[in-house]
Symmetry: none
Subunit: 184 residues, 2 copies
DNA sequence: TAGTAACCCATTGACGCCCAAATATGCCCA
DNA sequence: TGGGCATATTTGGGCGTCAATGGGTTACTA
């Protein structure tokens, strides 16, 4: 389709010095005839590295209910969300809805020996993906978009931010990352 | 009842490195002429793995009192619910209700050598199932629906989540599984 | 003896694994 | 600073293995 290699526009993963990698930047890879796509090496490393002892070599993906995109995270993050859902009242409507939206729509995507995954039809459809996939870093997770859809979305977000003079509230600079502290 | 576990799951099942699997995602299988259905491998493994020493190779299913679906769990989960019912006031209406809804309607479903089970007519009827069965992961247990009925239900839940701008109250991020730390 | 239940086998097809080719990216040297 | 080389990723396919299905058969029950 459009430009073939615009990948590597930016760094992808930066080690914050401690242990949790920071997924940043964008990558575009192709879906082959068998439906496989390589997860960008930086993202792959970043997620696996965070939970070396995990028995599951892969990621979890579920449709974003805000955008025509997919949210992708590692097992510990998904487990964390499952636990959060568990904290809600058993059988409550809220719990059912969140469970429905996140857990039931989540797909475990195991890596093949080359670090590729197969995106289920259901997810491809939600994100309007076909042919090429754009991976967008988002901290300790990343999102997956159809390249063209992403450009439009990105453009609008940029416009809105400039128009509203958006600002970013800051937290005290020396704080450690969220999951570090609080443990003995 | 409060949540008892801290395990999690995914499109299928993932061992969190410690002990509790995470059942997530959906699977659709067929009911054959003899009434048998294969329980998705990931779910099967997830439940059995959690209680290797169990004497019962199979699962427990009972009708959901909120949806036209079935709740399926392993023996330890069923035992936990039975205990929870016991904790309720003896002879209270609530206890009687929970007891009759869950315990009295529960069916033990043994696996055949291929991992299939036979859903009793009573359960098939409650869920309006015939022909195909959809298995939906929900953490450490899973639900069984008629595919079409589930799609409608899921669509509504998704809409509600998007409309209300649902957010998931997160428990403090602690990379360890819940039942690991914090207990002597 | 009819009906049901549990087990064993065979078939089919999707998925995971291995190997090889084609491209990028980073580094070294002129 | 530009070219070229060595290495690391991304792509393509072929193939074997395992999970999902369909039936046949035997063991029990009623």
């Amino acid at each position: 389709m459009a430009n073939r290699r615009s990948k590597t526009d930016a760094g992808s993963e930066v080690s914050l010095g401690s242990e949790m990698p920071l997924l940043v930047g964008k990558h575009v890879n192709k879906i082959d005839r068998k439906g496989r796509v390589s997860v960008p090496k930086p993202f792959r490393d970043g997620l696996l590295e965070a939970e070396p002892r995990s028995s599951f070599a892969g990621v979890y993906a579920f449709p974003s209910f805000k955008f025509p995109a997919l949210e992708v995270c590692d097992e510990s993050y998904m487990a964390w969300m499952a636990e959060s859902v568990d904290d809600m009242d058993l059988f409550s409507d809220e719990q059912d809805d969140m469970s429905s939206v996140i857990l039931e729509n989540a797909h475990p995507l195991p890596f093949d020996p080359e670090g590729r995954v197969v995106l289920p039809a259901e997810l491809l459809e939600h994100a309007g993906i076909s042919g090429e996939v754009m991976f967008v870093g988002s901290g300790e997770r990343f999102r997956v978009w159809d390249p063209e859809t992403y450009r439009e979305h990105s453009k609008k977000a940029f416009e809105r931010a400039r128009a509203s003079g958006a600002t970013l509230p800051r937290r005290p600079r020396d704080r450690r990352r969220r999951d570090e502290g609080s443990q003995p």
